[in-house]
């Protein structure tokens, strides 16, 4: 079965899919997704305090590289954007810039309570409380801060979601691009 997500991609690219190609597309998509989930490269960008738990995760004790994950210095070669903690409006601007530079497919993982609903900074004048209003988030990790084990679990879940085609944040961003942009523009007075 060709799921909805694949169709949207094809429509976006203006590709006419007939039945034979459809089958190829499906099997190719499975392989592609399998390959993608095994080599997720994340952008090296610590947006908040959660970045401190990425260091144990990247180094010898929890060793993220065994999942094929690796920090990458440029957004243009990365698949994964980690929002590690609260998002200040000044940072949100850079996050959106970074996110838009990343090629498809791309995934967003939000760390900690702050991107969910503001966490301890719910009444702060500079932190946006719900990240989901400005960027599509694929998976949230609750807690402050999330332990490396829970981050590993989240990555594991993300891989399953990618395999099943449920990690569709980048497609939602395309689909509701106008709505996301409208929300972003309400926050920023000027873009640059």
């Amino acid at each position: 079965m060709v799921d909805e997500k694949e169709k949207i991609v094809s429509e976006d690219m203006g590709v006419q899919v007939d039945k034979k190609e459809d089958i190829e597309m499906r099997s190719f998509g499975t392989i592609k997704r399998w390959a993608t989930k095994r080599s997720l490269w994340m952008v090296h960008y610590c947006t908040g305090c959660g970045g401190i738990e990425l260091a144990p995760l990247m180094t010898s004790r929890y060793d993220m590289e065994r999942f094929g994950m690796h920090p990458m210095v440029t957004p243009r070669q990365s698949d994964l954007l980690l929002i590690t903690g609260y998002v200040n409006i000044k940072t949100l601007k850079r996050i959106i810039r970074t996110y838009e530079q990343m090629p498809d497919p791309k995934y967003v993982v939000a760390f900690g309570s702050c991107p969910i609903n503001g966490g301890p900074y719910w009444d702060s004048h500079v932190t946006i409380n719900h990240l989901d209003k400005y960027l599509p988030v694929d998976i949230y990790i609750a807690g402050c801060m999330p332990r490396p084990q829970s981050i590993v679990k989240a990555f594991d879940d993300l891989m399953d979601m990618i395999q099943e085609g449920k990690a569709d944040g980048y497609l939602r961003y395309k689909k509701y691009y106008d709505k996301y942009k409208a929300n972003q523009e309400k926050i920023f007075r000027k873009w640059w």
């Binding site: 000044k90 004048h125 500079v126 719900h130 209003k133 709505k179 929300n183 920023f188 007075r189 000027k190």
Partner: protein, 161 residues
């Protein structure tokens, strides 16, 4: 020199109000126009380390209080040099000539409290970006109301059924 000696020496400064708060911490209040002079006086006494410039909004008195937190490494004493300026026209003079690092502290006070420092060439946006409201650390800035109006009013991007 004991704490009491310091208090006595500070009290000699014209117009000053000196109080020993606790062991090693002294508060010294001076009129706004004498602030710079008092700072020089204290620096000569050995209070050479400007820890920070603290700013307090006393909205009931319609005044801002600038607290120059000074420390003396030789006598291990700390003094809070306090000056009060009017809230309507918050303007003060820079202390950059005494402590160059005052520039950063003044920049912050300018941004967070809206106090202008005459003589500081670098009162540019520092921490906030595109801030058009009243300075956020003022007491009359209601952060909860602001959050409700600005961030919570934005709708969720919902999926179509």
């Amino acid at each position: 020199m004991s704490e009491q000696d310091f208090v006595e020496r500070m009290a000699k400064f014209p117009g000053s109000e000196v109080k020993l708060l606790r062991k090693g911490q002294i508060a010294m209040k001076v009129p706004a126009d004498k602030g710079h002079e008092a700072a020089e006086y204290l620096k000569k006494m050995g209070f050479t380390h400007l820890v920070a410039i603290e700013y307090v909004d006393w909205i009931k008195d319609n005044e801002f209080e600038l607290v120059y937190n000074l420390f003396s490494y030789s006598s291990k004493m700390r003094v809070f040099l306090k000056v009060r300026i009017s809230r309507d026209n918050p303007e003060y003079i820079t202390f950059m000539d005494l402590w160059p690092v005052a520039m950063t502290h003044e920049r912050e006070a300018h941004e967070m409290m809206g106090i202008k420092f005459k003589g500081n060439p670098n009162l540019t946006p520092f921490i906030l970006e595109d801030w058009k409201e009243i300075p956020p650390m003022r007491k009359d800035f209601d952060s909860r109301k602001f959050v409700k109006e600005k961030y919570d009013s934005i709708p969720f991007v919902e999926d179509e059924p």
